[in-house]
Amino acid sequence: MKRPNDNRDTAEAVSSLLIERCRAGDEAAWKELVEATYRDVYSLCLRILRDPDDAVEATQDAYLKAWRGLKGFRGDAQFSTWLYRVASNAAISKLRSRKRRRDREVGEEAFEVLEAPGGTEDRASVLIDIQRLEGALRVLPEHYRAAIVLRDVYGMSIGEVAERLGISETATKVRVHRGRKKLKEMVYGSGEEER
């Protein structure tokens, strides 16, 4: 799984020593660990859930589970990978409870086509604005969004995504495939009218 890679503290910066201190109940170490990781974890939850309040709750659930589960973390996976798994489970679980609460939302979200840039042969049309992509991802229907976020943003395998979403690998592949097509249409337009 791919992890964030920028100048500020990230989940990658978490050392095994820090984790050991957390396991021993060192609250200062926990604070350090949270400060290094919570922005990324919140971003993951927000990308899946879209709603900031739900993302806050999912982030809190994820860290509570992480604190309780740290003793069971054997270190055979990267800490960031493990933390993202915990966080994506918390976000998907929140997504399911929200679906039960607001059933009408399922698949009925506004599907907004963003204004497409220039013509097919225009090399600049292939360039992508990251903010625009983030915006398109936000309005992608929920069932596609979760699959695309886990697979294409956080680099999970099809098997991992299927496990988290509680669907088969075949269904996951279909969601990812359709999600990419819809997202591409939203960012660049369908392209059909160009032929």
Binding site: Y38, S43, P52, V56, K184, Y188
Partner: protein, 123 residues
């Protein structure tokens, strides 16, 4: 491979799958598909870049609520341990309370019956 088939496999092709000879051959002679492929590749690159970008401003108070998880859990553990240690005492107290409540209800019922009988006797 015809144009429609190629268009259908492009989302997976862009990530390295479905790279058959027929697909490569179609791409070599179809500018539309090459363009679409570039778009998918760029979009997938952009998506992978998102993981290092914040998705939005982190709400105030989130960090503090996460940092205090160990102390909150520790208080909860203390309560749980106390309840576990004194389970028999709490169970006994609960049984006694149920007994007292039952006796009170029984007494009230008996008193009520007594009043009803005396009313009948007077009538």
């Amino acid at each position: 491979m015809d144009h429609r088939q190629m268009q259908e496999i492009l989302p997976a092709y862009a990530r390295g799958a479905e790279r058959s000879l027929q697909a490569k051959r179609h791409l070599s002679r179809c500018a539309d598909c090459r363009n679409e492929l570039r778009r998918y590749e760029t979009m997938l690159w952009g998506l992978s870049e998102l993981s290092s970008q914040p998705a939005g401003d982190v709400p105030d108070g989130l960090l503090a609520s996460l940092v205090e998880i160990p102390s909150r859990e520790s208080r909860l553990d203390t309560v749980r341990a106390h309840v576990a240690r004194n389970r028999k005492v709490y169970a006994g107290a609960a049984a006694a309370m149920v007994g007292v409540a039952g006796a009170a209800v029984g007494a009230a019922v008996l008193r009520n019956r007594g009043r009803t009988r005396s009313r009948w006797a007077t009538a």
